[in-house]
């Protein structure tokens, strides 16, 4: 631990940033001392990333100041951050794959020159020295594309050191590292910290943050809600600080008991890559099943697998006891499975096309005037569109106007409408109310429940625990590609979902 906050090396004061009407950061103060490991935690969208982006010169804050050693610094572009001694390692490591490690370390760095000619020999020595400082074992002459993720992290850290970084921010460094590799990285972090390099450690893995950090700053809704020194907080306390409340009563009272009926849809040990490692769950007819967990837990990937959009590597899906294979989207659709994707604009909408077109594009065949002939019936098309616009209360001037002109909530309703066919059995909804106003959100929830009341199985993926608790009969929580638990009935509370979302180390220990 270092000294008082007044002598902090880097001081952020009153930093605020709004995107449109939404406040991403609001009057944030934060101190970073020389050589400390500083943990940054908070739910998705709490403001951690925005703070990092402001410090890195990627996002311009609306108000606020940054001082280093008491001097005001203006960080308006990434170059300014580098000059100030700040380095940033994002999850998607910015390395040139077919360059060697040493080339990557030196890329863009000040090199040793004589009369404008780069002295490569001396420059390489600098790179080697940096790598040696953090105990790099592998050859720096290897291409980055041939290195493991852990080795690439070490390349990134060396790259920061060559630039004389006094602070290195790391975003989810252990997300794709094994336990052994993580332990190795922690040693490097502690060594750097001893040498006076501050580490800004951003992670959802609370156990790691608690173990490593000298101090922890908790973000919630764009504000700093807690700054704790090592030993002041335990995991439970940290979760409380992240959520903001201790216990939240179940919102939904009419939750259906686990139905004794035949399963509608089952996932059996499905897996693909590192995103979905081994997931099993059961969905019953007429049920709203939530899929909880943090961003990156593998839920979107799981939905894409079930929908046939990606290829399954292991395990199987069953619909009413019959295996669903081979997996392809048209096959899934023919079997009555639908998906409302997370990325509404890039994966869902044809923005230039009409509302009517967007609602009907998945069911064109059923709108033929004579079955067997390829011609569409405009009266059937119009009738279906008008019926769905009424049913889902989609606010539109005209079903023929481009859907790009509608509000986010109404676009989302149109995407749900796309799947409302007599044959629909299972509907996946990935973040159905993201970027949607509160009124539309309730209407969307109502539409999902109406669907379930008709016997359809709805699977709702949401990072908003409040939404899951309010909407779902049962919630399966995923963590790093595995199911970390399931809650039903009165156990469907925000607290329980969050605890399961952060269940990393337990599950990892069990599976190892």
């Amino acid at each position: 631990m270092q000294s008082e906050s007044s002598s902090a090396w880097l001081q952020v004061r009153g930093l605020s940033k709004s995107f449109g009407g939404a406040r991403a950061l609001s009057e944030v103060d934060i101190d970073i001392h020389r050589g400390e490991v500083h943990g940054l935690v908070g739910a998705n969208g709490a403001g951690k990333s925005t703070l990092i982006r402001c410090l890195a010169g990627i996002t311009a804050p609306d108000t606020g100041s940054v001082t280093i050693d008491g001097d005001d610094v203006r960080i308006s572009q990434p170059r300014d951050a580098e000059v100030a001694g700040l380095a940033f390692i994002h999850q998607e490591l910015n390395l040139v794959p077919h360059f060697t490690a040493v080339q990557n370390i030196l890329l863009g760095a000040p090199k040793v020159t004589r009369a404008g000619i780069i002295n490569w020999k001396k420059s390489r020595k600098v790179a080697y020295a940096a790598a040696e400082r953090i105990g790099v074992q592998f050859s720096l002459e290897r291409r980055v594309e041939d290195l493991s993720v852990a080795e690439r992290w070490l390349v990134m850290i060396s790259k920061a050191l060559v630039r004389n970084a006094t602070m290195i921010a790391m975003d989810e460094p252990t997300a794709s590292l094994s336990d052994h590799e993580s332990a190795q990285l922690f040693r490097v972090i502690r060594d750097l910290s001893r040498d006076g390099v501050a580490i800004l450690y951003v992670s959802h893995r609370l156990d790691e943050v608690l173990e490593l950090s000298d101090r922890i700053t908790v973000f919630r809704d764009g504000r700093v809600t807690e700054t704790a020194v090592r030993g002041q907080l335990d995991k439970r306390g940290l979760i409380r600080a992240i959520v903001g409340r201790e216990v939240i009563a179940a919102v939904r009272q009419d939750r259906k008991a686990t139905p004794g009926t035949e399963p509608l849809f089952e996932a059996k040990h499905v897996a693909r890559g590192s995103a979905v490692k081994d997931v099993s769950f059961t969905l019953y007819p007429g049920e709203v099943l939530g899929l909880g967990g943090l961003v990156g837990a593998g839920r979107t990937e799981l939905a894409r697998l079930a929908f046939g959009a990606d290829k399954l590597e292991a395990g199987s899906f069953e619909l009413r006891g019959r295996p669903l294979q081979p997996n392809s989207v048209p096959r899934a659709v023919a079997n009555g499975i639908g998906l409302v994707p997370e990325e509404r604009r890039s994966e869902g909408l044809m923005l230039e096309k009409s509302v009517s077109y967007n609602m009907n594009v998945a069911v064109l065949r059923s709108l033929r005037s004579v079955p067997g002939l390829p011609f569409l019936s405009s009266s059937k098309t119009r009738a279906r569109s008008n019926r769905l616009v009424d049913q889902l209360q989609i606010k539109t001037q005209n079903i023929n106007e481009p859907i790009g002109g509608l509000s986010g909530g109404n676009q989302q309703k149109a995407l749900i409408a796309r799947w409302l066919t007599p044959g629909i059995q299972v509907l996946f909804l990935d973040e159905p109310s993201r970027g949607v106003d509160i009124g539309a959100r309730q209407e969307i929830h109502q539409a999902i429940r109406d669907l379930a009341d008709r016997g359809v199985g709805a699977i709702v993926i949401s990072s908003d625990v409040e939404e899951l608790a309010a909407l779902c009969d049962r919630v399966v929580v995923m963590c790093e590609g595995l199911v970390s638990g399931e809650v039903s009935g009165d156990e469907v509370t925000e607290q329980n979902i969050i605890e399961l979302s952060y269940a990393h180390l337990q599950t990892q220990g069990e599976s190892a």
């Binding site: 998906l339 890039s346 230039e352 096309k353 569409l376």
Partner: protein, 342 residues
């Protein structure tokens, strides 16, 4: 750092800006009209100008039929190209497909003695096969469309040389020449009728069938189309096959018109087709490719050429005119659209 204007301060400023925004609105409407109807206005202006300058030569039924007749081959091949652009791809082989088709149709009839009613459908089928092959390479093998279609086209150039190395017995039957010279209905030349039929079929496919709607979905947002259960690869392959058939048809008609199979005869249609299709995308709709637009594009070029030749402009003006009108029309409509949005 200074606080940037907030939402509240922007709202305070807006009442005073009412008159300005009305003015801006009017300008926006004008720009939308320009971006959508600019090409049509241009076409009309050309017709009016030529009529005033040369009333006796330009504004006559024979001249109009002549313009349409000359446009029909370009219109057919361009309509096929439109289909590939609708699904977000393109085909650089169409000119070579047309040339190759023109060679083999003559070969089949004059050398191999196939009856015309067998030879022509066979060549169209080959066109479909070539298009499907391109489509397969683009969708399944995932070769970039530039490389796949240029590769296929180049192979066809060589195949054309190889095919014409065997001497083709001189003279094609009169019935083959009649395909393009006949005027069975009201004295309207056959190519015009064929063009109308082809364009009508493609228009119906694109706008009135589920296949056509799927094609538009694929071109509109391929990921959304895929996640709606559309078999994206098949839809694209169909588009390429259609382009192949249209190219083969254009090549066949050209050989009929020339009365022989000539090497590289139809290669030049590639650029004409692209010019027409892109002119068409700046017509009526915002940058979308569609059949009616393509027809307008073809007519703009044909009317322009016709005017140039009536006024006795030297031949080198033709490509200059073609290039200039393309850049001008597409550029202006893109700019108008951008400012209409801003």
């Amino acid at each position: 750092m200074n606080p940037t204007p907030t939402l509240a301060s922007a709202a305070e400023a807006s009442p005073a800006a009412g008159a300005v925004s009305l003015e801006r609105n009017r300008r926006r409407v004008a720009l939308v009209i320009l971006s959508r109807y600019g090409t049509l206005i241009g076409l009309t202006a050309m017709v009016v100008a030529f009529t005033i300058r040369a009333p006796t030569t330009f504004l006559t039924l024979p001249n109009f039929l002549n313009i349409l007749n000359q446009s029909s081959l370009t219109a057919i091949i361009a309509a096929g190209l439109t289909m590939t652009l609708v699904v977000g791809e393109f085909d650089l082989s169409i000119g070579y497909v047309a040339s190759f088709a023109g060679l083999i149709v003559v070969g089949f009839i004059a050398r191999d003695g196939l009856p015309m009613l067998l030879a022509v459908p066979l060549v169209l089928l080959i066109g479909a096969g070539i298009g499907t092959t391109s489509g397969f390479l683009v969708t399944k093998v995932r070769i970039n469309a530039v490389i796949a279609t240029l590769g296929i086209g180049t192979i066809l150039v060589g195949a054309g040389f190889a095919y014409s190395a065997f001497p083709i017995a001189a003279g094609v039957p009169a019935e083959f020449v009649q395909i393009s010279l006949g005027k069975p209905v009201f004295g309207i030349p056959n190519p015009i009728l064929i063009m109308v039929v082809v364009l009508a079929i493609l228009w119906v496919i694109l706008n009135k069938t589920d296949l056509g709607q799927k094609m538009q979905a694929v071109g509109g947002n391929i990921e959304a189309a895929r996640l709606s259960g559309i078999r994206v690869d098949r839809v694209k392959m169909f588009a390429f096959a259609t382009a192949g058939v249209c190219a083969a048809l254009t090549g066949t008609l050209l050989s009929s018109l020339l009365g022989s199979g000539t090497l590289a005869a139809a290669d030049g249609y590639l650029l004409d087709a692209f010019a027409a299709v892109f002119l068409g995308s700046a017509t009526l709709r915002d940058g979308e490719f569609h059949i009616v637009g393509t027809l307008v594009g073809v007519l703009i070029i044909a009317v322009g050429f016709n005017g140039l030749s009536i006024f006795g402009a030297p031949t080198f003006f033709q490509p200059i005119f073609k290039g200039a009108i393309l850049v001008l029309a597409v550029g202006l409509s893109t700019l108008a659209r951008r400012y209409a949005k801003a």
